[in-house]
């Protein structure tokens, strides 16, 4: 070691549909970078970041990944945020032996090869959707809801996967899925589907999409006479979630800022000082992912990606979102929380262990 820099790429949706995801994630990463650089960098090397706007979708993410690898000669990628972008990026990372650690991509496919084996160079800092889906299914049943209607975007790996896992867990635990409808990401008029939801008299409307769709659907649902409780996943977590439209809903998430653990509270305080906002899960996991990566590089003592990958796989790390160890599929084993939206506020509702 000694001297030089370590270049790390951040692939995140800095603009477009889910820009708060990218901005929060990047904020988290930058805070971690500052802290490490303040400490003198990793093994004496300063960290430098390249931020690319990969827009939460496959095409730009692939372009961005190719660009940072080919042009910027980056060996470490933090990102993408969204599973549907992380999956194609992971192919490129794996083929180029570049380490990719996604902060929040929860779809199982991200770290898996087609044959089910684990991608050597790909990791994530979050739990996965089979867990998240089960959490929400149990939560719904615990609240006494027996019937659910599922709406999902079949073109989004995350949404589609989470819907599937929820359905499986919900029906296995005795619930009944009374309707399932898919839509596409550019849809704005959901009246036809919502009319069906109202007609189905489902108690839960499970909508595991990102916040813009939740805002739209929520605003139209009332108008169409939907009385079901809306539920979803970590895609809801955004400062731009329309609290009026999502009122009465619940969603699973990676952490709650109300968590009294000191590591959480000091993180929230630090973040607030710098960015003047309460960190959401994306910022937190961006921070965690960066820390995981840097710790592994430090542990490996080199920026050789094969070594770093090995170091990561065996790393134990106390992160803000929980204590992290990777399982065989490079997925951390962590708790989930359920948050509720009520009267213009998002608040902690429950915590669920795997």
């Amino acid at each position: 070691g000694g001297g030089g820099t370590i270049k790390v790429a951040v692939l995140a949706p800095m603009s477009g549909q889910v820009s708060t995801f990218g901005i929060s994630t990047n904020n988290g990463v930058q805070l971690a970078v500052e802290e490490w650089n303040a400490k003198g960098g990793i093994n004496g090397k300063k960290i430098e970041t390249v931020v690319a706007d990969s827009q939460c979708s496959a095409d730009p993410a692939v372009n961005a990944a190719n660009k940072v690898i080919q042009e910027d000669k980056v060996k470490f990628i933090i990102g993408e945020v969204c599973s549907s972008a992380s999956i194609p990026v992971s192919e490129i990372a794996e083929a180029n032996q570049v380490i990719q650690i996604s902060p929040t991509s929860t779809n199982p496919q991200v770290t898996l090869n087609k044959d089910g084996s684990t991608k050597k160079y790909v990791f994530r800092a979050c739990f996965i959707d089979p867990f998240q889906g089960t959490v929400m299914a149990k939560f719904a049943l615990d609240k006494g809801y027996k019937t659910a209607f599922i709406m999902f975007d079949q073109g989004n790996d995350y949404v589609r996967g989470l819907a599937e896992y929820f359905e499986k867990a919900f029906t296995e635990a005795g619930g009944q899925v009374v309707g399932k409808e898919s839509y596409t990401k550019t849809d704005t008029d959901f009246s036809a589907i919502l009319t069906k939801v109202a007609e189905s008299k489902a108690e839960v409307l499970f909508l595991p999409d990102y916040y813009p769709i939740v805002n739209l659907v929520g605003a139209q649902a009332k108008e169409k006479g939907v009385t079901a409780v809306m539920m979803g996943g970590d895609g809801w977590d955004s400062a731009d979630l329309d609290l009026k439209a999502a009122d009465g809903g619940f969603f699973s998430n990676h952490y709650s800022p109300e968590d009294p653990r000191p590591i959480v509270q000091s993180w929230v305080a630090n973040y607030q000082k710098k960015y003047n906002a309460v960190p959401d899960a994306l910022a937190t996991l961006g921070y965690d992912a960066a820390n995981l990566l840097f710790a592994a590089i430090e542990k490996a003592g080199t920026d050789d990606t094969t070594k770093v990958a090995e170091a990561l796989a065996s790393l134990q790390y106390e992160a803000v979102s929980g204590k992290i160890t990777f399982d065989a599929q490079h997925n951390p084993v962590k708790n989930a929380v359920v948050l509720s939206v009520k009267d213009g506020k998002v608040s902690f509702s429950a915590s669920v262990a795997p």
């Binding site: 800095m14 603009s15 390249v50 931020v51 690319a52 706007d53 979708s57 496959a58 095409d59 692939v62 190719n66 660009k67 080919q70 042009e71 549907s84 999956i87 194609p88 192919e91 087609k114 975007d153 079949q154 073109g155 989004n156 790996d157 589609r160 898919s182 596409t184 990401k185």
Partner: protein
């Protein structure tokens, strides 16, 4: 007596030289993979746009369907090579091969038969073609699946990279032919529509193809295409040399066709349909011919494109992008082959290359602010495109010398006229 003319030699010589020089630069890593990709995509764009220039520039049919056929070529070729490289299975190849052959044969035979009947209604003919095509496709699927293991074995005998190349080339060609056959079926009834309506129907086609691709996994069982999530894992086999070979092939075909009586017939349809009909030109036939040929080019280009990035996404085939070849053709000059090729490369280099690399990060959006302004200025300054209808000598129709020997007086009418 095979004598190749001087202009042909100069032209082919320089294009081959260009190809080789670029190849050397690539091999020496002077041209980074980034620019290599842009050049290859430029060549692909040139092929798509040449096809469109035939259809729109020379035959006058305002088609926005080029992108849909491009998508068909891309996905079908990708499916063949994907199955071969990922699953070591050639059933994609065999099924599509037999589909293309059987449907193609049926189209040719039926076309002959219909040609003999007076006053065939295009819509009714379409119904018959469609039934035949569906039946034969079903047949091809079973033949293909039966023969696949045999073909697998055959291909395994070859060294891996040769087998891959063979499958790749067949895939590209089959993709092209498939696009051409679909364009025949679609074009048959739709080409009877008036110009703008034809444009709109073809735009509809592009959108329908995109929606079908969005649903390819859920509705149609092509799990490997992954629908709206994007197809990954396609082998990246399209090299600079391959695209250029295809481009040269397409170019020579276009040029030779245009410089023949058939080419003039095609152009006469653009000029005045009623007059063309009255001069004995079967305008329906030439519209179909041109449309199918143009779409064949689009399909070939699609197959080439699929193997550049190894990644296909239905959003690439979004209708908004279907204007790109139209913009290129107009930008280069309608009815100028030279212009189209130049414009395709220039467009790709500027929009994807230069604008991307000169804009600082965070300013990506500016690309699409600058680009339309360039387009606007360009259209205001040169409404007929960069090249108008100029052609370089090889592509220009070299007229035979005027027979300006003094006209035989007995055969000429009054001089006063």
């Amino acid at each position: 007596m095979k004598r190749i003319s001087r202009t042909t030699l100069i032209f082919l010589g320089s294009i081959v030289a260009f190809t080789l020089v670029v190849q050397v630069l690539i091999s020496l890593n002077v041209l980074s993979p980034f620019w290599n990709t842009i050049l290859r995509q430029g060549a692909v764009m040139a092929i798509v746009s040449l096809g469109l220039n035939l259809i729109y520039g020379f035959n006058g049919q305002f088609s926005l369907g080029q992108w849909g056929f491009y998508a068909i070529g891309a996905y079908s070729a990708a499916d063949i090579t994907y199955r071969w490289t990922n699953d070591a299975n050639s059933n994609g190849l065999t099924v599509l091969f037999f589909t293309v052959v059987l449907v193609g044969a049926a189209i040719l035979i039926l076309y002959r038969v219909f040609g003999k009947i007076r006053g065939v209604d295009p819509l009714s003919a379409f119904a018959i073609y469609l039934i035949a095509a569906i039946g034969l496709t079903a047949l091809a699927v079973s033949i293909g699946n039966i023969t696949a293991p045999g073909v697998n074995g055959l291909l395994k005998v070859l060294p891996a990279n040769i087998a891959n190349t063979v499958v790749y080339l067949l895939a590209v060609i089959i993709g092209g032919v498939l696009a051409a056959e679909v364009s025949f079926l679609f074009g048959l009834p739709v080409l009877t529509l008036g110009s703008d309506y034809f444009g709109i129907a073809t735009l509809g086609f592009t959108i329908i193809v995109k929606v079908l691709l969005d649903n390819s996994d859920v509705m149609f069982g092509f799990v490997e295409m992954k629908g709206a999530r994007g197809m990954i894992g396609i082998p990246k086999l399209t090299s600079w040399i391959w695209v250029m070979l295809f481009l040269i092939l397409v170019l020579v075909i276009t040029r030779n066709l245009l410089h023949s009586s058939y080419g003039r017939a095609i152009i006469s349809v653009r000029e005045d349909e009623i007059a063309a009909k009255a001069m004995g030109i079967d305008i329906g036939h030439y519209k179909t011919l041109t449309f199918v040929l143009g779409c064949l080019f689009a399909g070939l280009a699609g197959g080439l494109y699929a193997h550049i990035n190894g990644f296909l996404h239905p959003d690439t085939f979004n209708f908004i992008k279907s204007f790109d070849p139209m913009i290129i053709v107009v930008f280069g000059g309608l009815g100028s082959v030279t212009g189209t090729i130049f414009a395709a490369f220039a467009w790709q280099l500027v929009l994807e290359g230069i604008l991307r690399s000169i804009l600082p990060p965070g300013f990506e959006t500016w690309r699409y602010v600058v680009y339309p302004l360039l387009l606007l200025v360009m259209m205001l300054l040169k409404p007929n495109g960069l090249f108008g209808n100029y052609e370089i000598p090889y592509l220009r129709q070299v007229l035979p010398p005027k027979k300006s020997t003094e006209p035989k007086p007995a055969q000429t009418a009054k001089e006063s006229l």
